[in-house]
Subunit: 200 residues, 2 copies
Amino acid sequence: MRPSTRSGRRPGDSGTRDRILETARRQFGELGYDRTTVRGIAAEAGVDPALVAHFFGSKQRLFASAVELPFDPEVVLPKLLGGDPATMGARLARFVLELQEAEDTRWRMVGVLRAAASEPEAARIVRERIIAAIFAPMVASLDVADAPLRASLVSAQVVGLLMARHVVGVEPLASIDLETIVSAVGPALQHYLTGPLHGS
Amino acid sequence: MRPSTRSGRRPGDSGTRDRILETARRQFGELGYDRTTVRGIAAEAGVDPALVAHFFGSKQRLFASAVELPFDPEVVLPKLLGGDPATMGARLARFVLELQEAEDTRWRMVGVLRAAASEPEAARIVRERIIAAIFAPMVASLDVADAPLRASLVSAQVVGLLMARHVVGVEPLASIDLETIVSAVGPALQHYLTGPLHGS
């Protein structure tokens, strides 16, 4: 779950780099992409802005590092794909919601979604690292027709769920317990994964 | 579908005001809330920034006017509520998607969603003018348990659908025809409206 650190750095570098990343993640998640600045991140992390640039380059590249997926698709996919295909929707809902329980992970996901609204780089991250890396292989494993459409419908549902719960703050969805949402959203995701898309 | 104009204005005012609103709507939709400026809108509309301030006050108030709902809940609700409750999900999907067919309306909706990611005023507009004005009364008409939760789940699905199709650009959802989406998303919305939320 820790952000990856490049090899060959001195120990002190790694701690500073991690602190910058944690600060960046929270600020991108809380303020949105446009209102977050390298200067503001540096100030809160207690470092010189030049050091942030040294480690990460541009704000866009810092963003990409900060919101790096906190999971490895090769570890996650077998868990989602294992078990009954008829309950894959519920497993996916649980996986997505559990990721939001930890503050660090929630800021990454919320940061990407917030930024995807205005920043093409963030929209690309959503398309490539979430949809192409997780949802598309899930659907492909099911041997169903319309696989690309199903993956995009799953992503629409997941994006909407996270936006409503964590960004727009739609009640009671924003504060209700995880199990209730898994029960409610699981069947809709299951419909997109294996149900009849063109009418029954 | 035209933006409402206050009464008591001279005819020339109304044309200029409408032009500012149309420009604002497109810029908020295209650039997002943070990157849109009163100065930029005034430049494109060919007016002095002071005139924009005269008509609308702050950027936040201009935003609220620009994204005003292009429909009257009192006209829309009877259409959504009329007919078989078992196909209300499909009617809602069609209504939402048809609103996006016209460029002017699409910019309003996309503008609100983009802005809701970073601007509390926009998030409030989503909660009050869309969820409370349309989705909550729809659910209330159905005489089902968990009405507030259902309305929030409907809104999560609709927000996600519009984000994926028009903001993040998830293919094939971004370019596929309306009828296919209505068939695919209708049953998921129907589940949230009338289905068993706590397991069957």
